[in-house]
Symmetry: C2
Subunit: 311 residues, 2 copies
């Protein structure tokens, strides 16, 4: 005779989560309670778009630009939510305010959602909006910010634009994750992936920049059009540092005077070693430092700040 | 003065889910309660592998082959779980038994999981195993099984193997989903994507086959090595229908005598229209019918069946 296990009413989750507050279905929840169905197409088909904005000293930085990209991404994926920009802004503010975080990593997501019948037609699903605020996160830790990241250029090819539109911020990261494992195996701390032509593309969550003879270079095609990347262009204009977007080979990177990467998660982060080559003097270069200072200075400019009220 | 919304203890989910039973963390749950954290890297980075096996008349079909692929995929992604094949088999059997389903769609998943600190290093995450059984699902509905699917060959390029290893069954489906929307816009019911060379790759969850002058043709590279695809080869040997794996152009497909697609979700499914071209006579062809009969006949063969005991 067979015996069968009992069916539980609710999942008891042994995992430990960081602090933070999430929003789902009109409810604000501790981040540990923010869960999506395993049947959500945002999980089962990675059928989702999202954005991440950071909060610095009680204000969002360039929130409008992140909202622009998020709403444009939803449209490209044929998704819609019953929330406009003002409603999303209100929700993001509430997540941060309820979390009490002065510096935060704020992610907002639209998933394809589920259909009651597990239909394979994405048009049958009800799209789902989720947002959460957790403590500010950075690609580089304080030690790495100080002495520069060590990166490896791996032979993995970033998913090309003919397959997935990189201007729609998406969760297709297996290439980036496999790149990380390849980089770790070479003793590096993070990875840079190539495009299909063998030029530099991007890394896990960041854009790549090289500085050569006073000019800034960064890839143009097949990469996320990062808001921090745009901020570097804005800073370049302000500081009269010329910038060029176009092909950048691994050799260009190794022969650069300075290299840095950019992300909402961390801002401007120096790179001082690429594969086995130290870049320039092997320490954080002057233009990287100048841009980093300008980046954080911009966070005090009201044109880029959206203030948050806290309880 | 600002007022702030209240924080709820638990999420109240308005969505309606199909019937079924899931397993997570040693617990069996109604599928409606099976939820993963929004912070799980399986969601935020689509950093996961999975497999789907079907249950037909109270038995798994080719379970061993699905387990082989799942465990191989985890290894390629540097994942591990504290469960061996026997333990996973036991869990899958229990999900089906507790669901009471005689015909079922059974999915088992390993996600990268989460780390308590939201670390960006995948090595810090605790991998998570999830399984669920829901009613049997098919790519084609009964009407489409009868008269053949109408498909469109879209200009989307399936994510190439240099980016994501297609032999690791994965959730990177945005190219397939955008292909579906492109197909719907052309009045078709599902989509076929191309590879980087412009040859036929695969569709959302299925492999593609053409029949020409008594031979079966199917793409060789850059596609999922489907278990049902393998079953077609096995049937080809049994029935002495020669099969060839290699490049298949969109024109080859349109000029074929018969076209069919294969998936664990539905088995062998006829295609009678590609873009605006009817295939062969425009109705389900004799070799497709012969293979379909053989496919379901194999479900009675003890070599491929793993019986389930029900309460």
């Amino acid at each position: 005779m067979n015996t069968f296990p009992a069916l539980s009413d609710r999942h008891s989750d042994p995992a430990i989560y960081p602090p933070g507050v999430a929003y789902m279905d009109g409810q604000y929840l501790p981040i540990s309670e923010a869960k999506i169905s395993v049947l959500d197409n945002g999980f089962l088909h990675s059928d989702a778009t999202y954005d991440v904005v950071h909060v610095w000293q009680g204000a969002f930085f360039r929130l409008d630009d992140h909202l622009d990209r998020f709403f444009a991404g939803m449209e490209k994926l044929h998704m819609s939510i019953p929330l406009d920009r003002a409603a999303v802004t209100e929700i993001l503010k509430n997540c941060v305010a309820l979390s009490g975080l002065n510096n935060a990593y704020v992610e907002f997501i639209c998933t394809r959602g589920t259909s009651p019948t597990f239909s394979r037609d994405p048009r049958d699903a009800v799209n789902r909006f989720i947002a959460f605020a957790i403590p500010f996160a950075s690609v580089a830790n304080p030690e790495q910010m100080d002495r520069g990241l060590h990166v490896a250029v791996t032979d993995l090819v970033r998913i090309p634009p003919a397959s997935v539109d990189p201007t729609v911020k998406n969760y297709h990261w297996l290439d980036l994750v496999q790149g990380l494992y390849a980089a770790y195996a070479q003793g590096a701390e993070t990875a840079i992936l190539l495009d299909a032509e063998g030029n530099i593309a991007e890394g896990p969550g960041f854009n790549v920049f090289a500085v050569k003879e006073g000019k800034i270079y960064t890839p143009e095609y097949g990469v996320l059009l990062g808001i921090t990347r745009q901020t570097i262009f804005d800073i370049g204009k302000d500081l009269q540092i010329p910038y060029v977007t176009g092909d950048l080979s691994p050799e260009d990177l190794r022969l650069a005077d300075e290299v840095f990467v950019t992300s909402t998660a961390g801002g401007v982060m120096p790179v001082t070693k690429v594969d086995n080559t130290f870049i320039g003097t092997g320490s954080v270069g002057p233009i990287t430092q100048q841009i980093t200072r300008a980046y954080w200075q911009m966070h005090k400019d009201d044109r880029f700040r959206t203030e948050i009220s806290y309880p």
